[in-house]
C-alpha cells in the first residue's frame, strides 16, 4: 500500500505544485476557480483517454510517439507561460495599481486565465496518464488490489494536500512582492519544462547533438527523491544534465526575461503617453479659465 501511495504521490506533486502556483497568482481574479477546475477536469478525462490509446501513441513516429507527445505538451506549456508573463508585465501592474481599472481587469483578466488553465491542464495530463496507467495495472492484477488502490487514493489525497500547502505558502508572501515572485517562478518553471522537452526530443532520436553529460549530482540530491522532484518541477533541477538541456534552459530564461522587459517597457511608454496627454489637457484647461 505504501508503495502505491508513494508512486501516485510522486506523480501528482508536479501537477500539484503548478496548480498551487497558478491559484496563488490568480487570487482575486473572478472566475479563476472555474478555469482551473476546468483545466484539471479536462486533463483527467484526457489522461484516461491517453491511457486507453497509450499503445497507438507509443507506436507512432516509429516508436517515438510517447517522447514526441511529451515534448509537444511541454512545448505548448512553455509558450503559454511565456505569453502569460509577457501579458502580466504589460497589464498586470496596471491592474494591481489602479483600483479604477478593476472593472476592466475583470474582463481582460480572463485572457491570461485561459493560458494558465491550459498550463494546469497540460501538467495534469502528463502526470495523470501515468497515474491512470499505474492504477489500471493494479486493478488488472486483481487479487490484492484493494490495499494498493487505497494507497493510490491516499497518494492522490496527499498530492491535493500538497497543492493546498503550496497555495497558502505563496499567499504568505507580502502582496507587493507576489508579482515579482510569481513572475520569477513561472520563468524558472518554463525553463525547466523546455529543458525537459529537449531531452524528450533527444530520446525520440530527433536531436543527436550536445548529448554530453555536464555533471552528476545524483549522489547528493537524486532527482527521483521527493526533494529532487520538487526542485525538478520548480526550477528544472536535473541531476545529470546534458549540454543540450543546459543551453535550452538558459535560452528559455533569456527569452522569458527579454519578453517581460519588452512588454514592461511598452507599458511604461503607454503610461508616460497617458500622463503627458493628461498634463497637456489640464494646462489647456488652465489657459481657457484665464
Amino acid at each position: 500500500m505504501l508503495g502505491a501511495l508513494i508512486i501516485v504521490f510522486r506523480e501528482v506533486i508536479e501537477a500539484g505544485l503548478i496548480i498551487g502556483i497558478v491559484l496563488a497568482m490568480t487570487r482575486g481574479v473572478p472566475g479563476r476557480g472555474q478555469w482551473v477546475a476546468g483545466g484539471v477536469i479536462a486533463a483527467v478525462l484526457g489522461a484516461a483517454m491517453l491511457a486507453i490509446f497509450a499503445q497507438s501513441i507509443a507506436d507512432a513516429f516509429e516508436g517515438s510517439g510517447q517522447e514526441m507527445f511529451n515534448a509537444s505538451v511541454l512545448g505548448v506549456a512553455v509558450l503559454m507561460l511565456m505569453w502569460h508573463n509577457a501579458w502580466m508585465a504589460s497589464h498586470g501592474q496596471d491592474m494591481a495599481n489602479s483600483m479604477a481599472a478593476v472593472g476592466k481587469a475583470v474582463s481582460s483578466g480572463q485572457r491570461p486565465l485561459a493560458a494558465l488553465a491550459i498550463v494546469v491542464g497540460l501538467a495534469t495530463l502528463r502526470e495523470g496518464s501515468e497515474v491512470v496507467l499505474f492504477l489500471y495495472g493494479i486493478v488488472a492484477a486483481g487479487a490484492s488490489a484493494s490495499s494498493l488502490l487505497t494507497g493510490g487514493a491516499l497518494g492522490l489525497a496527499a498530492g491535493a494536500a500538497f497543492t493546498v500547502l503550496t497555495y497558502y505558502g505563496l499567499l504568505a508572501i507580502p502582496s507587493r512582492y507576489i508579482f515579482a515572485v510569481t513572475t520569477a517562478l513561472i520563468a524558472l518553471l518554463a525553463a525547466g519544462m523546455a529543458a525537459q522537452a529537449a531531452q524528450f526530443l533527444d530520446a525520440a532520436g530527433l536531436i543527436n547533438v550536445l548529448g554530453e553529460r555536464l555533471w552528476d549530482s545524483s549522489a547528493w540530491l537524486p532527482q527521483d527523491s521527493i526533494v529532487g522532484r520538487l526542485l525538478h518541477t520548480l526550477v528544472g533541477y536535473t541531476d545529470r544534465p546534458t549540454e543540450l538541456q543546459l543551453i535550452t534552459y538558459l535560452a528559455t530564461l533569456a527569452v522569458m526575461v527579454a519578453l517581460t522587459r519588452f512588454a514592461g517597457s511598452k507599458r511604461t511608454a503607454r503610461a508616460a503617453a497617458l500622463t503627458t496627454k493628461r498634463s497637456m489637457s489640464s494646462r489647456g484647461l488652465g489657459r481657457a479659465n484665464k
Partner: protein
C-alpha cells in the same frame, strides 16, 4: 529485452560505450510498466502486451541502473557500457 512477471530479462545488458543504442523492450505482462532511469535519462511507459523502443547513449563506460517504476521491488536491471 523482455518484461515478464514484473521482472526484466535479462537483468543485465552490455552496450558499447560512446554509441547510441536502441533497446526494444517487450512487455509480456498484462499490466503496463514504466522503464525508468535517471541515470540513462529515460522515462518511458510500455503498455501491457506490447513493445517499446528505448534509445540510450552515447554513454561513457560504467554501470547504469534502471527500474520498472510500477513494480520497483522486482523490476530492476542494469546497463553496462564498456
Amino acid at each position: 529485452m523482455v518484461i515478464r512477471d514484473h521482472k526484466f530479462e535479462p537483468e543485465e545488458i552490455r552496450v558499447p560505450a560512446g554509441k547510441r543504442v536502441s533497446v526494444y523492450v517487450t512487455n509480456e505482462d498484462a499490466t503496463p510498466e514504466e522503464f525508468d532511469s535517471p541515470a540513462l535519462k529515460v522515462e518511458k511507459v510500455i503498455p501491457a502486451k506490447s513493445k517499446g523502443l528505448v534509445r540510450i547513449g552515447p554513454l561513457s563506460p560504467g554501470r547504469y541502473e534502471f527500474i520498472g517504476e510500477f513494480h520497483a521491488d522486482t523490476a530492476k536491471g542494469v546497463v553496462i557500457a564498456e
